[in-house]
Symmetry: C2
Subunit: 252 residues, 2 copies
């Protein structure tokens, strides 16, 4: 159990990450018993780690209830991938929003999933379930397919190997169909989500490339299938993604 | 060193927090030597913890360089204090921005400092150094003084005990003057920052109260001393803070 400091470090860090990861998007404060249940760790271990994590502001304890701490929010604001890409993308995202009156997403690829870094909503845009910091399986989203289409083959293989979960009745769940879809996206430079991530929701997405020419993210315009002409949105999102890519290539 | 698991846990969590905390607002990737220098930890220890933190997405390693990981951004978005207060405040902040064409801040108190949860800038508002997730000493800011004025005496005592650093030539650094200032703010329900946090920057701030009647945050309108009439901003920020407090009291 307490042999080498190395093994112990990995154990403690892993258990700490498990406790922090036990909090969901809807959770406020959780009790130690609930954390023990969600992490599978003994209550005594959870108690010990909660005390240590609270001492450093990573958790916030009031009585017997525990919340994610403000320090995590501070650290999260400093994550370079998010901070720098978001800062470069915001003006282009605002232009897209104002030009289309829809919802504009900026996302990055993280393993087989996409993570939303920023979302700009036009005041008259419909409400959407997407959330900044939220995740979705890459193959089921426009931004995800746009990034996968321009990623190395091994990235696509890994996504397929991880399985292709179904989010809606239109989600592409067959590897063969996904590969064919990605070929089309490579040719067009634009990806469409036709109610593949959720019923009624559609989007047009385009990849963003970094200074080294590798795909670093994707922009998309989302709306309801009833209220948005996807083909009309494609040129706008493609133009914004190209402009952002050029900005990222420019020596700053 | 490796006696009880408890002591070891606190050590590992503390060192991990130190490594995460070693990254500043302007930092991108850092090397292990630099992290060792900033944390005072041996390189071997930093190596070991970086490996463990990277395995859980809290750090992101490319070659020998290390960055804060995307997982921290995700977790940070889930911090309830920020998530819930920000969500409730955004519409009121947007109204303030549109009504004043200045910069609107939402902040909370964390020990002797304020942390900015959200900032809304009017398109024609001046640029400001403030940053979402950034910190400033509470006694030197409008939002900080607004919260301190309505906090328990022991909170104010702790801030004074922590020392009153000077941010500008107008910062209130004398305990006696700070206490008198807070009395006036309690009476007025509004705090002013007259170039106390930085030369040329002024703001009017008002406290926000939670369902239990305790102060939970503060709203402010900031601008340049040359371009903003503080007294004219006070009723607007006070009104928005009262409306937000009422919204927080309303059973949801």
């Amino acid at each position: 159990m307490c042999s080498a400091g190395r093994h112990e470090s990995e154990t403690v860090v892993g258990r700490s990450a498990a406790i922090l990861g036990a909090f969901g998007a809807e959770d406020g404060a959780l009790g130690v018993s609930e954390l023990s249940r969600r992490t599978g760790l003994p209550k005594s271990t959870v108690h010990r780690l909660v005390r240590a994590l609270t001492a450093h502001g990573l958790l916030d304890r009031s009585g017997s209830r525990v919340r994610l701490g403000l320090r995590l929010f501070e650290l999260g604001q400093l994550v370079p991938l998010r901070r720098d890409l978001r800062a470069a993308a915001l003006p282009f995202m605002a232009d897209l929003r104002d030009a289309t009156h829809q919802i504009v997403h900026l996302a990055v690829l993280d393993g087989p999933e996409v993570v939303y870094l920023e979302i700009l909503r036009s005041a008259d845009a419909p409400a959407m379930p997407s959330r900044v910091g939220g995740r979705l399986p890459a193959h089921a989203t426009g931004v995800g397919k746009a990034m996968l289409a321009f990623s190395p083959p091994e990235t696509v293989d890994a996504v397929i190997a991880a399985g292709l979960p179904r989010l809606s009745r239109r989600t592409i769940v067959l590897p063969r169909l996904l590969r064919r879809e990605l070929e089309g996206i490579r040719a067009a430079g634009c990806a469409f989500d036709r109610e593949e991530s959720g019923d009624g929701v559609v989007c047009a997405a385009s990849p963003v490339f970094g200074s080294d020419g590798a795909v670093v993210g994707a922009l998309s315009i989302s709306g309801w299938s009833t209220g948005m002409k996807l083909e009309r949105m494609a040129p706008a999102v493609r133009t914004a993604a190209l402009a952002l890519s050029r900005a990222l290539r420019a020596p700053s």
